[in-house]
């Protein structure tokens, strides 16, 4: 009966306006969050065990430099200056092995063996959650990260020409390499286990702790200056970086910057779209608030009478609160449905371009964002309606 009384003056067109505006905003917000989460693995794939925004810097090797014997290593002053740059979050040096390394691998009775080299970077640049990226003295197995190119080289070059089986990343991870290290008149055999493949590091990476130990045991003693640095930056697309590197004659490794750049631009674009969606949501929230206020205003006399015959402000406010929350809930439900449908479409598309990405991820980001948006907006609605009804009570 209360509802029958209070639903008068409800403007369907206003509520419909709110509904669609809010739906629009909600879908944009949810879709951008969801899309970002779905597409992110494309850019971070493979090197997910590395900190996201880093660059590998070396000094340019020039013919003249080689001829006159100019060093292309980084001095401590170089490192310190790089460290001070505003775009730098952290600098680490590649430390090379100062002993000889041979690695062997037996495939179908055929023994492949080659001279190799090891390098390490400070562990803080490697995601520590990476399985088994540790080394303790006495451990017989060394975790190794190799460039993905090496595997491609074997699979598409070597294996095909010798009709050897192709090896997937998974199988490679299960194989054990025979590592032979020599130096200072000693020889040490160990096993190598490949724990990751990198698109961006053109080196064979071992844990820092192993490198320190092995250099102490087998190294030739002299401390070499690093020829490559790993630099963690806020934003790889920052033009100050390019400028600084050019001025100093530094080089970043090839197009390795691009993935970071693209990921960064994606972030910016998603951020813009997200803000537009939020803006629409905020505006639609105003439409709803105005509509409810107008409704309350038109029903002021009735609300006053209800309060006078003993209805509490909370009770009088409730129908309007239920109306607002119900509408928000409907928007949330429909918004999620739309996001789900759209997502199915683009997942299909992404799946065709990046076969190994599809199927990952879930609707969770959209659900969480939507839920939070719903809660925040509803709480505001409930509060605003209650305040308005209280004002009607207080006015006398």
């Amino acid at each position: 009966m209360l509802w029958k009384l209070l639903r008068q003056h409800i403007s369907l067109s206003q509520l419909a306006g709110f509904f669609f505006a809010n739906l629009f905003g909600m879908v944009i917000v949810l879709l951008s969050v969801q899309f970002y989460n779905d597409i992110k693995p494309v850019f971070t794939r493979g090197d997910s065990f590395m900190k996201k925004d880093f660059l590998i810097v070396s000094k340019r090797v020039s013919t003249l430099g080689t001829v006159i014997g100019r060093s292309n290593t980084f001095t401590e002053a170089d490192v310190a200056r790089l460290q001070e740059q505003p775009f730098t979050k952290g600098v680490g040096a590649f430390s090379p092995a100062r002993f000889k390394v041979y690695a062997g691998l037996g495939i179908q009775g055929m023994q492949l063996s080659t001279a190799m080299f090891f390098e390490s970077v400070p562990d803080r640049f490697v995601d520590t959650s990476l399985d088994g990226w540790t080394f303790r003295e006495g451990q017989e197995e060394i975790p190794i990260i190799i460039p993905r190119n090496y595997l491609n080289l074997y699979n598409f070059g070597f294996a095909q020409s010798r009709s050897l089986p192709q090896i997937s990343e998974g199988v490679m991870g299960m194989m054990r390499l025979d590592i032979r290290m020599s130096g200072r008149g000693q020889v040490k055999r160990m096993k190598g286990r490949i724990v990751g493949f990198s698109d961006r590091l053109n080196t064979i990476l071992v844990p820092e702790a192993f490198m320190a130990w092995a250099n102490r045991m087998y190294g030739d003693g002299k401390e070499a200056l690093p020829s490559r640095l790993i630099v963690e930056v806020d934003n790889p697309a920052d033009d100050r970086i390019a400028k600084y590197f050019k001025e100093n004659g530094y080089e970043t490794e090839g197009d390795k910057l691009d993935a970071g750049k693209t990921a960064w631009f994606l972030k910016v674009i998603v951020g813009i779209v997200l803000s537009v969606g939020l803006l629409i949501s905020v505006l639609s929230f105003y439409i709803l608030m105005l509509s409810v206020y107008l409704l309350l205003q038109k029903n002021t006399a009735k609300l006053e009478n209800l309060l006078l015959i003993g209805y509490s402000p909370a009770r009088v406010a409730r129908p309007y609160q239920v109306l607002a929350v119900g509408l928000n809930l409907a928007v949330l439900g429909l918004g999620l449905l739309v996001v789900m449908l759209v997502r199915l479409q683009y997942l299909d598309f992404i799946g065709r371009i990046f076969p190994d990405i599809s199927g990952e991820g879930s609707l969770l980001p959209a659900l969480l964002t939507g839920g939070m948006l719903f809660l925040a907006v509803s709480a505001l609605n409930v509060w605003a309606v209650r305040r308005k009804v209280n004002a009607i009570w207080m006015r006398r």
Binding site: M1, L2, K4, L5, K302, N305, L306, L308, G310, R396
Partner: protein
């Protein structure tokens, strides 16, 4: 609630006047539970103001109003809600019915809140006041006299210590006035409640314990 005291109470609009001759304004007055009082007044002497001060929806008065010794200016919202549901009943001069609801719905809107009267009881009141045949008619299609009777029934649909009737029979004939008096007396006696009636001429025929000239 047993007493309603007015201590030197005066509507703010009267404050500028040189002299106020009244049995209520600017005096010490108390309404006791169980008593029946009539407040007689000419138009514009503040009858409805008195009712709205006591019912807590206007505060533009000087002096103090106390319920059982407690100043009502300090009452919270929830306290007032409770009082309006259980202690004070008011038949407003302007009725404050809902025009788009039927007579029956108007009464139910109140009774649903208090759960005080049962259906049969309400039907009987409707019948006695000769508005039962109109009970499914929208209030706005009814005459003011009919509306007064509906509002009266609504005022009875709650427990009360005091019932205020602001010009209850201004548009009623004597016959209906007598019926209303009988129902009111019966209900007030049942609850042991105090009755305060205001009037500008025609009185509700009751045995008044006290008569005030406002």
């Amino acid at each position: 609630m047993n007493t309603i005291e007015l201590q030197q109470t005066l509507p703010e609009v009267f404050a500028g006047r040189d002299s106020v001759t009244s049995d209520i304004w600017h005096r010490q007055v108390a309404f006791q539970r169980g008593q029946t009082c009539l407040v007689e007044a000419a138009s514009g002497t503040g009858k409805s103001s008195l009712c709205s001060f006591i019912y807590g929806y206007r505060q533009d008065y000087q002096g103090i109003i106390r319920f059982d010794g407690e100043n009502i200016r300090r009452y919270t919202v929830s306290r007032w809600v409770g009082i309006r549901k259980r202690s004070l009943s008011m038949l407003f001069q302007e009725l404050r019915l809902f025009g788009e609801l039927t007579a029956w719905e108007n009464v139910q809107l109140k009774n649903a809140l208090t759960g005080y009267a049962d259906r049969k009881q309400i039907r009987r009141w409707f019948e006695e006041l000769d508005i039962d045949r109109l009970r499914n008619q929208e209030i706005r299609r009814m005459s003011f006299g009919q509306q007064q009777r509906v509002a009266f029934v609504r005022a009875l649909c709650q427990p009360f210590d005091f019932i205020f009737l602001d010009e209850p029979i201004s548009h009623l004939d004597d016959g209906n006035g007598r019926i209303m008096s009988r129902i009111l007396t019966e209900e007030a006696r049942k609850q042991g409640a105090g009755v305060v009636v205001t009037s500008i001429g025609k009185h509700l025929p009751l045995d008044y314990d006290r008569i005030f000239a406002l």
